[in-house]
């Protein structure tokens, strides 16, 4: 029984962590640009393909390549697609991000086909270790550690560096920050690069877990993480991470606790819970200060 509870806890935290990282990547961009970037899924997917190409040669190389590909793609899309639209209203930005997301996905289907490709990435993590007499999956422990480390690193960056300060200022009131001398292009580019790093980390963990890459990977993660960042409080970075974590954790808890005949309706329960949170706290769990006046 203890084993089951502990294992469930590990399941909850590891899956929650994966969603939290994804939601944080979306939240970073929303914070500085009011852009809900659905093409975040394609950052994850392209990083996945970088792993596919290089994993058999060297694991560190594959991880580095995943990060480079995701960062370059994030910066490239910012420069080519989102920068010209920076003054457009959020609906236009949203549509542009959908278009970009479809474009990259369909291009990959054309180039490499839609069939999933097997990747036995980090098979050494696919084994079990004993912790306090309980057998746990190593990969889950690593997922928890990596998610925790990246969340702490992002928090440190935002709180303790000048760029982080500028980014927080931009997230709170972009126009005011610009007036006070924050360079918009640089702050936004850094936010995109960071979202690329987070996407690459998610890709590594996700590929190690599922052992596959395919052009549609990442989509499910991003959609659910987006819901998470909404209940966490759009525009608030701690809110995005918390919301992402809670939604991921809730899917696992519902799957674990619901009786068999109700388990097929897991998503219904999840979204009822999301709706309840939004009814009780329309600004999200940790509202973004800068957004209050706009609603």
């Amino acid at each position: 029984m203890i084993e089951r509870v502990l294992q469930t806890l590990v399941d909850v935290v590891s899956v929650g962590g994966l969603y939290a990282l994804t939601a944080l990547g979306i939240g970073l961009i929303f914070g500085v640009m009011r852009l809900i970037n659905f093409a975040h899924a394609q950052l994850i997917m392209m990083a996945g393909y970088a792993i596919l190409v290089l994993f058999s040669q060297s694991v560190p190389l594959a991880i580095a390549a995943a990060a480079v590909v995701a960062i370059l793609l994030a910066l490239g899309t910012e420069r080519v697609v989102f920068r010209p639209l920076r003054d457009a209203d959020p609906a236009t930005l949203l549509i542009a991000s959908f278009a970009l997301s479809f474009f990259i996905e369909k291009t990959m289907i054309m180039l490499v086909g839609s069939r999933p490709k097997g990747v036995d990435f980090l098979p050494e993590l696919a084994r079990q270790i004993e912790v306090a007499g309980v057998r746990l999956q190593l990969l889950q422990i690593v997922t928890i550690a990596v998610s925790g480390a990246l969340l702490i690193a992002t928090t440190w960056f935002l709180r303790s560096t000048k760029l982080g300060l500028e980014m927080r200022a931009a997230a709170e009131n972009f126009r005011m920050a610009q007036v006070l001398g924050v360079r918009a292009n640089r702050v936004i580019a850094v936010a995109f690069a960071m979202s690329g790093i987070l996407a690459a980390a998610v890709a590594c963990l996700f590929v190690a877990q599922t052992g596959l890459v395919q052009p549609r990977m990442g989509l499910q993660l991003v959609v659910i993480a987006f819901v998470g960042s909404v209940i966490g409080g759009l525009g608030s970075l701690p809110g995005a991470a918390l919301g992402g974590f809670l939604v991921g954790a809730a899917t696992i808890l519902l799957q674990t606790l619901l009786p068999a005949e109700l388990r097929v309706f897991r998503e219904v329960f999840l979204f009822v819970a999301v709706a309840l949170v939004l009814l009780l706290r329309p600004q999200g769990l940790i509202p973004a200060p800068g957004l209050k006046a706009r609603v």
Binding site: Q7, R135, Q137
Partner: protein, 391 residues
């Protein structure tokens, strides 16, 4: 005089061509492929299309249909089901007398309804009995074995051939095939092994990033199952196997035709104790010599090994149509269908096929079971289901 005669003859034959063209086109054996040549469904249809083309080549070499070579007309539905209806209209305009649609009811039905209205025979490799007389109409035929019979077949095989006694069911609750498959397995398993022999049932969704909770539930069972019956497809299916094996679940994993092929084995390279039911072994060791010969011809024509066993179904669709049209002495949909309905263990490459006026899909035709050991695929043999849930 000679020149005038020739000119007359030329003029006459030109006029004859002008007048004769429409009726000549109408009488030619034209086979339509309204399939997913591009988009996300493309890899599922690719080998079915290749199989159909191979059949056309082989049948033409043997004299064609009604003494004329079969012509192929193609339409790409771009993996968008509604485009199948446009495709059916398009290829029928180009003279198609029979059409092969994508291997899924939802993808195949829109075009098949049009074919039905235009008196054109519609084939599909959908494993859903709805693609047939009841769901579409008397001109729609599936060359597959019904999903409802595949699960029961695996239950009987696991119990009788392998002697396994405790099972656990893990259903990917996203498509109707996986639901029929797991439903049929569970029902038949409880019949032959007893209700207590089904230790539990759980569900997941194909896109779920993690099945951690499902894995924990099955590892926490008081009794360890001998086998996990997994109803899924790529990417969710291979990913589920990887996650189960990583969690130390080494029970046999059994599944249906939706996980046919070895393209995903890179996810779980050293996989063992895995069994999939499909239409024939592409590894050269099928008990049917005809199936082995088929895969050799396939490799020779396309310069690469078949991906999955689905080519057998595309081949068999063309084969069935050619046999029936030749027997009927006509290309009219209703006349060809009247012969197809009398198929009694007709030796198609996919196996002896029986269709009746009411049932246009096989259930008891033998299927191959492929086992995997240390990442290597090999045929376990061919087996027929004895009893399956009614559909």
């Amino acid at each position: 005089m000679k020149t005038t005669g020739m000119m007359k003859a030329a003029a006459f034959s030109a006029a004859a061509m002008v007048f004769a063209l429409p009726s000549a086109a109408a009488d030619k054996p034209v086979f339509g492929l309204v399939m997913s040549f591009s988009g996300w469904f493309q890899p599922i249809d690719a080998d079915t299309i290749a199989g159909a083309k191979l059949a056309v080549e082989n049948i033409n070499a043997a004299g064609g249909v009604l003494g004329q070579p079969i012509e192929i007309v193609e339409f790409d539905n771009k993996s968008e089901p509604p485009l199948g209806a446009d495709g059916a209209i398009d290829v029928i305009d180009k003279g198609a007398k029979a059409i092969l649609f994508p291997s899924d009811f939802d993808f195949g039905a829109p075009g098949a309804f049009i074919a039905q209205q235009k008196n054109v025979v519609a084939f599909s490799a959908a494993s859903d009995p709805k693609f047939g007389a009841k769901g579409i109409g008397p001109l729609a035929y599936s060359v597959s074995n019904a999903g409802q019979a595949q699960g029961a077949l695996m239950a009987e095989w696991a119990y009788k051939e392998k002697g396994w006694r405790k099972a656990y069911v893990l259903l990917d609750n996203t498509i109707s095939y996986t639901k029929s498959l797991c439903g049929s397995f569970a029902e038949r398993w409880k019949e032959i092994a007893g209700a207590g022999a089904l230790l539990g049932e759980d569900t997941f969704l194909n896109g779920d990033p993690s099945i951690a909770s499902q894995v924990t539930r099955s590892t926490s069972l008081a009794e360890k199952p001998d086998l996990v019956f997994l109803c899924s497809y790529a990417p969710g299916g291979p990913s589920a196997i990887r996650q189960m094996r990583a969690a130390g679940i080494d029970a046999a994993v059994l599944t249906g035709e939706s996980m046919d092929g070895d393209y995903w084995i890179g996810s779980v390279p050293g996989l063992s104790n895995f069994y999939v039911v499909n239409y024939g072994s592409k590894y050269g060791d099928d008990p049917s010599a005809e199936v082995n010969a088929f895969f050799e011809r396939f490799e020779k024509k396309f310069g690469k090994k078949a991906d999955v066993s689905y080519g057998l179904r595309g081949y068999s669709a063309v084969q069935a149509w050619a046999i029936a049209a030749n027997k009927a002495g006509s290309l009219d949909g209703d006349k060809v269908a009247a012969i197809l309905d009398t198929f009694d263990k007709e030796p198609l490459v996919v196996g002896p096929t029986t269709w009746t006026a009411e049932r246009h899909i096989e259930a008891t035709r033998p299927m191959a079971i492929i086992g995997v050991k240390d990442g290597k695929f090999a045929a376990e043999g061919r087996f027929s289901v004895e009893k399956y849930p009614e559909f």
